[in-house]
Amino acid sequence: MVPVQWYLLLAAAVFCIGLFGILTRQNALLFLMSVELMLNAANINLVAFSAYWGNVTGQTFSLFTMALAAAEVAVGIGIILVLYRNFNDVDVTLAKEMRW
């Protein structure tokens, strides 16, 4: 059996890739993908700990997270569509009216 540390390292790596995407990209679609990566990093953790403790609660929870992620994508795509309609682009740095 693979030790739980490897799973955690994998999850941390996936999370950092997602974070890197969010901090460096300007494309809203890439944003959405990066967020999905971070979400799934959390899922990996849940499942890994669930297997480690022999408790299915974590796995059940990760199912909910996936459903949530699906809903989130629906909303996110909607936002991106509106963004495109207003700015003719999906660049997130264009929409900065809501500031001081």
Binding site: L19, I22, L23, Q26, V92, K96, R99, W100
Partner: protein
């Protein structure tokens, strides 16, 4: 006891008349005059009933309503209550009688002359009567203060009755402000009394004069804020005296009273002669047990009184207008009362308060009658020879003048003589200050006799000097009636206290007022005050001789004044004669430049100080507040730039925050150790 159950109605009846006149006066006949007459007549009847009950030996001192109850220990309750003792009963009778007569007189002075705004006038009279009566029956200092202020308000409203003219509103404002100035001290004094004694009741168990006396004996403990009890009581007494000096028109706050003559003449009679001005003196008499404990306060009262009596009398000598002469005589006479109180002559001063109320109301109403006859011309130099044309006014006015000048046997003689006598014997008993007051009082007697009869001769004697004086307007019963009643009183009321006769002829038991004021609550009796007072008496060759000499000197001086006036002015075509006085005439005519001095004080001293205070407020106090807020504003305007609107930046900040948290947890949790 029944009379005391109805006693609140004495105050409430005129108040009711105030409400009726104010609300429905224009629908009533005579502008609400009859309501006022009925109310003051009702008050008079009830006062007489109370008077008779008090004469039967009963007194009343009850709290009727607590409008702010104290909770816990060491607190004070603020209450309304009635104190009906001989002094209050006597004053009730005087105020309600004078008020009734003034209401009747107003029918002639206001209604018959076709004045407008009568409901307002009668409402003012009603409210004034109610507040003065409320002041008289007040059983504690705070209630007295509240009614004292109401009286001042009514004075303002009535002086400014003819508010469309130029003079009255400004006179009303002046009266209000000047008396207010004194009342600030009074208010501080009331608070000081509460803080010191925890009560402001005049009489009964634990009343503040009683507590003060016990504190001086060491029998009770009061809060004196680090002062010796005697010093502190003097300070408190002088604070309250501020209100008295303002209201009773004593130097240096007397300047409002002559201006107040801008009001209708019946108002002058009621307010500025017989009752409101009496409020100050009455207050001192009411809490005399407190003042008697402080020789310093008494000395100041006596000196202020004597000085005012003299100064005001000299100013009255050169005035041209009949009401002005009366105004200065009022100030002067109240000076005598203060002198009497300060000199330990409690009964004498109260006696003078009573006789003065009658003869000064009479003189003002007489002057009102003359003013009606002269078509509202008040200049005495336009009068003359009115004696034949208006005999009732003349003879009653003469009775009042004789009383004012202090000629035997009219009322003023007895009371003024007793004031001077008390001052003299206590002065001889080792108080040189009182002798100074006595000397000023004596000189003022001469001037009083002079200006009074100058006024009488100029108004009624000689040849008429104008066409109006040749054919004066007639007056009706409603003017003559009150004059006759007051004329009889002014001539005869002295019999209630013929102390000189008693002492000279050895008839005992005719000093009725002394006996009257010896009744009631033990701590409020004249002989108790006599025990407390710091004075001792001495005589010039025996008591009888002193009485005779004192009476002879004051009567002689008064007669000298009258004779001087007779020689100078009782001729068919008198000259002014005032030019002979030279510079003094100008000084007197301008009232010793007191008004100018006070205006100067306000403009050159108080105004710059106020400007400085304003600068301090605007600059330093507001500066600190504005400085603090501008720091916040500046900081806010910089820190808000964190909100860039760029989503990536927020994400970066979130990440940074997370990392910072992790680092903190790590360090705290010892992960790097």
């Amino acid at each position: 006891m029944a009379a005391f159950d109805y006693a609140p109605a004495i105050v409430l009846l005129p108040f009711l008349s105030f409400l009726v006149s104010l609300g429905g006066g224009k629908y009533l006949p005579k502008g609400g005059a009859f309501g006022g007459i009925a109310a003051s007549a009702g008050s008079l009847v009830l006062s007489a009933w109370v008077f008779l009950t008090v004469a039967g030996g009963e007194v009343y001192n009850e709290t009727l309503y607590t409008w702010a109850a104290g909770a816990g220990e060491e607190t004070v309750s603020l209450t309304f209550g009635l104190l009906l003792d001989p002094l209050a009963a006597m004053m009730l009778l005087i105020v309600s009688l004078v008020s009734l007569l003034v209401h009747v007189f107003s029918l002639g002075y206001m209604n018959d002359e076709g004045e407008t705004g009568l409901p307002r006038y009668y409402a003012g009279l009603g409210l004034f009567t109610a507040s003065m009566l409320g002041f008289v029956v007040a059983d504690n200092l705070l209630m007295a203060f509240m009614f004292f202020e109401l009286v001042g308000l009514c004075s303002y409203l009535l002086i400014g009755f003819w508010f469309r003219q130029e003079g009255p509103p400004s006179a009303a404002k002046k009266a209000f402000l000047v008396t207010r100035f004194g009342d600030y001290f009074f208010l501080v004094g009331v608070v000081a009394v509460f803080a010191t004694f925890g009560t402001a009741k005049f009489a009964g168990e634990g009343a503040f004069p009683v507590l003060a006396e016990e504190a001086l004996n060491g029998a009770a403990e009061v809060t004196t804020f680090g002062f010796a009890p005697e010093t502190w009581f003097t300070i408190v007494g002088l604070l309250i005296l501020g209100g008295v000096i303002g209201k009773s028109a004593q130097f240096p706050l007397h300047t409002w009273l002559p201006d107040a003559m801008e009001g209708p003449t019946p108002v002058s009679a009621l307010i500025h002669a017989a009752t409101m001005v009496a409020a100050g003196v009455y207050l001192v008499a009411r809490m005399y047990g407190f003042y008697a404990l402080s020789p310093t306060a008494l000395g100041i009262i006596a000196l202020v009184g004597g000085f005012t009596a003299l100064v005001a009398a000299t100013m009255g000598v050169v005035k041209r207008e009949i009401k002005q002469v009366l105004a200065y005589s009022t100030i002067s006479q109240y000076g005598y009362m203060m002198l009497g109180l300060g000199a330990g002559g409690y009964v004498a001063a109260t006696f003078h308060l009573m006789t003065h109320a009658f003869f000064k109301a009479l003189l003002f109403l007489g002057a009102g009658s003359v003013i009606i006859a002269m078509h509202h011309d008040e200049d005495m130099w336009n009068m003359g020879g009115l004696k034949e044309k208006m005999p009732v006014t003349y003879y009653t006015f003469l009775a009042g003048s004789l009383a004012l000048a202090g000629i035997f046997p009219f009322a003023g003689f007895w009371s003024k003589d007793e004031v001077l006598y008390e001052t003299l014997i206590h002065g001889l008993g080792g108080s040189p200050l009182l002798l100074a007051g006595y000397a000023m009082g004596l000189v003022a007697v001469f001037f009083t006799g002079f200006y009074t009869f100058r006024m009488v001769f100029l108004t009624f004697h000689g040849e008429p000097r104008t066409d109006i004086a040749r054919d004066p307007h007639g007056v009706r019963w409603n003017v003559k009636g009150p004059l006759v009643v007051l004329g009889i009183l002014a001539a005869t009321v002295g019999v209630v206290n013929m102390v000189p006769v008693e002492k000279l002829l050895g008839i005992t038991g005719i000093d009725f007022l002394h006996q009257w004021l010896d009744g009631g609550f033990e701590a409020l009796t004249a002989h108790h005050y006599g025990d407390v007072l710091p004075y001792s008496s001495a005589y010039i060759g025996g008591e009888t001789t002193t009485v005779a000499v004192g009476a002879a000197v004051s009567l002689g001086l008064a007669l000298a004044g009258v004779i001087t006036a007779h020689v100078l002015y009782n001729v068919s075509d008198p000259d002014e004669h005032t030019e002979k006085l030279g510079a003094i005439k100008t000084l007197w005519y301008n009232n010793y430049y007191q008004d100018e001095y006070q205006v100067w004080l306000a403009e050159s001293v108080v105004l710059p100080v106020a400007r400085l205070a304003d600068k301090f407020d605007q600059g330093v106090v507001d500066g600190v507040v504005n400085g603090v807020s501008s720091v916040s504003l500046f900081a806010g305007s910089r820190i808000r730039r964190v909100q860039t609107g760029v989503v990536t930046n927020y994400a970066a900040l979130l990440t940074l925050g997370l990392v910072a948290l992790l680092v903190v947890f790590g360090v705290m949790g010892g992960w790097f150790a």
